[in-house]
């Protein structure tokens, strides 16, 4: 026992217990009441957002960027008017001025804000603050959305600062309000996407050296996107008055773009959250749900697009992007570890139907492979049914041959084959060494490129470049074979679809064999202690519960 037992010293705790509300006796002023109201309202916000906003307002980076933005806005107002004078009194000058303001806005919004979002999360991990954050009640998704929210808040501040200038361009005539809104809106959307991507990049590695490399790459990428979007934005501003705002297709195509942008932002946020979540968490299911939503969006919008354009080429386009998408996503998913923690097993589906339909959303390389293949195959079936129905009903846009069908079938088979081979290689390597998620992705890319390059190279070597024509020898060359199929040239060589189809069946069968143990997992009972705790948390009034779920805080009452 310590000396504390016999001679209790006056302590902070006793003091705090004896008079914890001493400030409450003073009558609060109007300003402090306003402060308290704001403080109460801020409790509805993400704590990270509140903290970052407080930090940002005091940070040198924000002060410099904001000051520069204002200074540049003012400078362009003066310089632009001077350059446009004296014509500005009688000729429309809004377009010219808006381009200048766009560039003033684009630099902070498209480069500084996304890079700050990246640094904000990367710095948490580098400075050791992330660990303290990760053991709070905040979930990894809250952490990421808080960071993204902070980035969006900064964008809003920059937009607000430049709003009078942009309003001024409308008064100068020459540019309509829709075009201004259109450019600003897509600049905002691009910035949000880049910030979300920046957060993903920040979670890729903890190594300081790699963070430096990634930050340079990200900066280059941001500059490239900024230049690309700026060229587009300037073209839009110039052609502003000819934008087809009155047409339905304009709005529906924009709606499609926006829905995809939103889905990708959600995907990026969930990826970043998964990367920083606790190791025993389920990092896959939510991501797969978002991927499936994207598949549904793609199917819906492409069907609409095909029906509107009445072009049978759309059926090929329908399959091209999902083929690339599912291959890349599949290459990442086959790198997943199939070991489910007891925590994840508690929420596994129990019913036969649930197990049949939802097992593919569980983490694991086999389930990931099957998930990618099933999505690709289902898309092919949708395209096949649509095409055949259109053909049967002799609708406009119906295909006039079977090249598109063969393209879809082969594209699906190639995804099955190359993803399957990549997975088998990864399974083999994992018998001897630990393999993360990035290596399987590289293996997937390498295998698919090797499948293209090898037969092309061998054929050129044996027969010479001048004789390099498509032959069944190129069956593994998915690029060339798919191009032949899309051009309806493959129907004359039926051996290729047969070989590819048989190979796909073989690879798929082999992969299913190695995926059996992943579907054998069954739900695990929730421990009694967890059930008790859940009951306590739901049952007891929140005001009587401390954050620890116990009544300790009552001891703070005087």
């Amino acid at each position: 026992m310590t000396s504390m037992d016999s001679t209790p010293a006056p302590s902070g705790l006793d003091e705090a217990l004896s008079n914890p509300f001493r400030a409450d006796h003073q009558r609060p002023s109007r300003a402090s009441r306003f402060d308290a109201t704001i403080d109460r309202l801020s409790e509805r916000l993400n704590p990270i957002l509140v903290k970052e906003a407080r930090q940002a307002l005091k940070s040198r980076q924000f002060v410099i960027t904001f000051s520069l933005l204002l200074a540049c806005g003012w400078a362009w107002s003066l310089v632009g008017i001077a350059l446009a004078s004296p014509g500005i009194y009688f000729a429309p000058g809004g377009t010219f001025m808006l381009i200048g303001y766009y560039f003033v806005l684009a630099a902070p919004v498209l480069v500084v804000v996304p890079f700050s979002a990246f640094r904000s999360l990367a710095a948490e991990r580098e400075d050791g603050t992330f660990e303290l954050l990760s053991i709070t009640s905040l979930g990894s998704r809250q952490i990421v959305t808080g960071k993204l929210g902070s980035a969006i808040l900064q964008m809003v501040v920059y937009y607000s600062a430049l709003a009078p200038c942009i309003g001024f361009t409308y008064l100068l005539r020459g540019i309509d309000i829709f075009t201004i809104a259109f450019v600003l809106f897509y600049t905002f959307v691009t910035s949000v996407m880049l910030a979300a991507l920046g957060l993903v990049v920040a979670t890729v590695t903890r190594s300081r050296q790699w963070q430096v490399v990634l930050s340079v790459l990200l900066l280059i990428g941001l500059l490239v996107v900024t230049v690309a979007w700026s060229i587009t934005a300037v073209n839009i501003i110039f052609s502003g008055n000819s934008m087809p705002y009155q047409t339905l297709d304009f709005w529906t195509s924009n709606l499609a773009v926006v829905t995809f942008c939103i889905s990708f932002v959600v995907l990026f946020v969930l990826v970043a959250a998964a990367m920083i979540s606790f190791a025993s968490d389920n990092r896959s299911t939510k991501l797969r749900v978002v991927m499936m939503v994207q598949q549904v969006l793609w199917t819906g919008w492409m069907t609409y697009c095909w029906m509107r354009t009445e072009a049978d080429e759309m059926l090929v386009v329908f399959m091209v992007f999902p083929g690339i998408y599912w291959y890349l996503m599949g290459a990442l998913m086959v790198g997943e570890n199939a070991q489910l923690s007891p925590r994840v097993k508690r929420s596994l589906p129990q019913s036969f139907l649930g197990r049949m339909l939802l097992t593919w959303f569980n983490p694991g390389s086999g389930t990931g492979y099957s998930f990618a293949v099933a999505n690709m195959a289902s898309l092919f079936l949708v395209v096949a049914v649509l095409g055949m129905l259109a053909e049967a009903a002799a609708l406009a846009g119906a295909p006039d041959n079977f090249g598109w069908l063969l393209f879809g079938l082969l594209a699906t088979c190639y995804v099955v084959i190359y993803l399957g081979i990549a997975r088998l290689i990864v399974l083999g390597i994992r018998q001897f060494a630990y393999v993360g998620m990035f290596v399987p992705f590289l293996i997937g890319l390498f295998v698919s490129l090797l499948g293209c390059a090898t037969p092309a190279f061998l054929q050129a070597w044996w027969f010479g470049y001048s004789e390099l024509e498509y032959s069944p020898f190129q069956a593994s060359n998915w690029m060339w074979t798919l191009a032949e199929a899309a051009n309806d040239d493959l129907l004359s060589t039926p051996a290729v679809p047969l070989v590819v189809g048989a190979s796909a069946a073989l690879v798929y069968g082999l992969n299913l064999l190695f995926a059996i143990y992943e579907v054998e997992y069954v739900r695990q009972e929730t421990p009694q202690r967890v059930i008790e705790d859940e009951h306590d948390r739901v049952g007891a009034p929140s005001s009587e519960k401390s954050a620890s779920g116990e009544d300790h805080h009552l001891s703070r009452e005087p």
Partner: protein, 314 residues
């Protein structure tokens, strides 16, 4: 039910980093309201096991439970009950003490009056009231330690894990920290604390565990460990006369070793516990020796630590 359940329980905890066995089959329990000292040389595995308990790392094998919840399977429930003070921690730029604590209060889900009360309580307890508006990066080491302790207890956790909380503190700050820890334990908090300052741990801990090379070498109350590892106690006697007779008298006993006579002082090693030492003193008085002083050097925690550990580093 709650009172009999250990608040901290390590069950055959293992953590390997390649060929390094940072934690190698460590098991112990800490009951509610107990202060448990975790002692070991640098690289012994203290921080690793504490990080596992704080849900910052996963064990290779085994499990650790906090209030009955597994750190592997229910980290969110563990986090609600646990406050962790790491040996080194980062701080945010452009944030003052109040904002820092307020942020963590919000992050632990405290709202309204509960949050403001928690802030007042923690700032009062850690005596940070006067520094509320001071930027964290301008704080001294001791103040930062206080702030970190405040952060770890902002959500009123029932379990506190303090990794080297006294490192780098001046003597006054260390004494105050020790008092704080004892007070927290008196208020029912369960505390696992590691420190290199063993005398302090001996004073504030109810039980200690000694770890080296990832293995728990001894665990129990300080006195228990002292008894368990007591080879011989050092006894010093001041006798006023008949020194030669006393020397012979002691030499004839079987429980005395290393007998040295230095004038009036007689020093020897005795293989008995305190009760047996008292009996020895009584026998000497009854044998008519003029004993002016009888002192027994009890093995300190440092002695036990040095005796138990080998000084190996992985």
């Amino acid at each position: 039910m709650n009172d009999v359940r250990p608040m901290i329980m390590l069950q055959r905890l293992h953590r390997f980093f390649d060929n390094t066995r940072a934690v190698d089959d460590v098991s112990f329990e800490v009951m509610r309201g107990e202060v448990f000292g975790y002692i070991g040389p640098n690289g012994a595995g203290k921080t690793t096991s504490m990080r596992i308990l704080a849900t910052l790392d996963l064990p290779t094998y085994g499990d650790a439970l906090v209030d009955g919840f597994s750190v592997i399977n229910d980290p969110d429930r563990v986090r609600r009950r646990l406050g962790f003070m790491p040996d080194a921690f980062g701080t945010y730029p452009n944030v003052n003490c109040r904002e820092y604590l307020d942020f963590f209060a919000r992050a632990y889900g405290l709202r309204g009056r509960e949050r403001s009360d928690a802030l007042k309580h923690v700032m009062g307890f850690t005596k940070l009231d006067g520094l509320a508006e001071k930027p964290i990066r301008g704080l001294s080491k001791g103040m930062k330690q206080r702030l970190c302790l405040g952060r770890s207890m902002i959500h009123d956790p029932s379990v506190l894990i303090l990794d080297e909380p006294a490192a780098g503190l001046d003597p006054r700050a260390r004494i105050e920290l020790r008092q704080m820890i004892r007070e927290l334990a008196d208020h029912g908090k369960t505390i696992l604390v590691s420190s290199h300052i063993l005398t302090e741990l001996a004073e504030m801990c109810d039980r200690v565990g000694i770890i080296e090379q990832g293995q728990l070498l001894a665990v129990g109350a300080v006195e228990e460990i002292q008894r368990g590892h007591a080879v011989l106690s050092e006894v010093e006697i001041r006798v006023l006369e008949n020194v030669a007779r006393l020397r012979q008298w002691l030499a004839d006993r079987g429980d005395i070793e290393n007998l040295v006579v230095d004038g009036e002082l007689v020093r020897f090693s005795h293989a008995g516990d305190r009760r047996e030492q008292a009996a020895l003193l009584r026998e000497m008085v009854l044998a008519d020796f003029s004993i002016a002083a009888f002192g027994c050097h009890v093995k300190s925690l440092e002695d036990v630590f040095m005796h138990v550990t080998q000084g190996f580093v992985q």
